[in-house]
Symmetry: none
Subunit: 415 residues, 2 copies
Amino acid sequence: MDPNRCVLVVCDGLADRPIAELGGKTPLEAAETPSLDELARAGINGIIDPLSPGVPPGSDAANLALLGYDPFKVYRGRGPFEALGCGIRVQPRDVAFRTNFATLDDNLLLVDRRAGRKIDHVEELVKALEGLGSEEYPDVEVIFGHSVEHRGAIVLRGKGLSMRVSDPDPHVLGIRIPDSVPLDDSVEAKKTAFIVNELTRLSYKILRDHPVNRKRKEKGLPPANVLLLRGTGMLPQIEKLETRFGIKSAAIVANALVRGVCASVGMRLIDVPGATGRVDTDTLAKARYIVRNLEHFDLIYTHIKGADSASHDGNLKMKMKMIQKIDGLIGYLMDHIESESVYLAITADHTTPVPVGNHTGEPVPITISGPGVRVDDVTTFSEVACAKGGLGRLLGRELMPTLMNYLGNAAMYGA
Amino acid sequence: MDPNRCVLVVCDGLADRPIAELGGKTPLEAAETPSLDELARAGINGIIDPLSPGVPPGSDAANLALLGYDPFKVYRGRGPFEALGCGIRVQPRDVAFRTNFATLDDNLLLVDRRAGRKIDHVEELVKALEGLGSEEYPDVEVIFGHSVEHRGAIVLRGKGLSMRVSDPDPHVLGIRIPDSVPLDDSVEAKKTAFIVNELTRLSYKILRDHPVNRKRKEKGLPPANVLLLRGTGMLPQIEKLETRFGIKSAAIVANALVRGVCASVGMRLIDVPGATGRVDTDTLAKARYIVRNLEHFDLIYTHIKGADSASHDGNLKMKMKMIQKIDGLIGYLMDHIESESVYLAITADHTTPVPVGNHTGEPVPITISGPGVRVDDVTTFSEVACAKGGLGRLLGRELMPTLMNYLGNAAMYGA
């Protein structure tokens, strides 16, 4: 393993705020994290504003930034990332939406935006939606994909489409699904809004009396009888990571959205059995796959979801447990990769404080260790300790150039 | 000496990485630098990304940034800076190239891009090239200048020129010099490429049988028988330093490229006998000239080249020696300038690690001392120590406004 390589571990929502229950410490400060602390001691530390100070980042924008792009300039909606994460090969001109299986009552009022979330035999519903398409515009191809639970994506492909249409998702219950409306005067926006509304109507027509839903009603479960389209967007128009830095890169990510972000910048997706995107994920399996694949790639981007879910659920105990699992993963990596030639970096994609239960805009800690790194005097990996490190305060999009500089893959500007 | 003044000392390639031979310290950490450390204790410290985190800066772009400009917006090639550094008064519409005296063999194959670098009686070759010009376009003025060794510059002046042409320099040996080709469809680019190719051909015609070259061949030295044009560019369209900040400024710089950058922003160039732009440079002579000229200027920009050359040559011992010389210069300045009215700032234009032998993208340390500066608790001048200072992490182009604010020459924005 001769040329320098890099493993970047991104822990979803890892950063937090001081919590009274922990004596005013953050979960990261309170947890026993011998491996993370050893890495901090061996490396250079700092804090990162994923997007910009104070701006709470969405998951897609945060991960796009950590991959080296400026979301304020290139981000154009969540739909295309969800679609890529569902395995749809999204094209530059496609208009994409994320979708929810949702529930309408007999008066067509929206009563559950997630159709109960857990949907047994959902694959039969997905199959029933095969061939879903616009009756008015048969020249527009409609591609539907499903990831987990109620989640999926729809891609529209064809001439004369626009992403300038409103989401039908009202985000409230007890009303009919509102029409998507064009957001400008173009014929493209009018055509696209028309198709979106047709698809909502057609999905209800197909799903309403489907046997799976009849059984759900019998059991008192909300029927998954309509597709709710949301997160309208198109792919960012960006140079792929490989072209930009001349590297081969792979992503080990379970979460569909972040998988989509990684796919959008041209990373190879590596599937790891046991990696679930939930708190029960097998972090050591991820670590083994990182080590095993490292010889084939210059950069392996690993995303670990659990801590964020624990924060969203307000589950401090689960967050502490997830931090232990992350510490174990880092320990495994430190034991199994060549520190003379491999950079190991760990950070979070955003702050998700347990007491808040949602993303907030504070910076996240970052540690980078590896050959030639200027070692500072930080001795623990935490939100406050890392702020005094040698990296100072960076923007999310500045991390990738920082790593590429260490790898020798950053192009000189000027002469 | 009443109004506040500033001396900015920029040490080329001073910043480095931890080096095993130095017990994991950087050269700056390992060297005895009592004066630099005293300055750090007396001042405010920080780190600077010359261009942007992780981006390795070229020398021209880095110095342009430290002078307060954004190279990503204004930089248009190295040629015009080299030409200014050769003493040519480059005009806004000129298209400029740096040139190498190079060697073609009898089959017109390029065999030495620098004609052996050391060229005795080079001034006779320069004289022979007087009047070099396009036979096809006599309305275009061709101005040739020489700096040191094989280095020089050519400026094209006249109507209908473009910088959108490729460099003829192939950067490899054993092939013929390729034609310059227009990079767009304009008649200006076609005309300019035509002239470049003509000049390459004409320079060979003039130099091939020149007595200096006949003697070189007799001695077994590579003849300097062709001009290799490279670094195509035009002057940045920028407001001069004097206009922008209302200051009189001077540069004490030996290196032709950096002299050119300083000239491009309107600085007066002060020549110092004994300042060579090499590791043998007389740093104390520079210091004396700074002190002597300080009453005439608000800002004196001093560039010291040696440490960068030592790094490029992988010569750690020479870099350590150069750091000692820089420490001596700073000591002299501290002893001879009025600390009540003169700001003394020291930084590097980029990192050039000895183990890498080229520019890399890490930040560089900065110290500023002078009246009213908020003194922090940094006690040594080094890459890691300064990172904990009161300035935090700045961009290169933010340094000049920072200094101008101390001088009272920064305009208020808003009211």
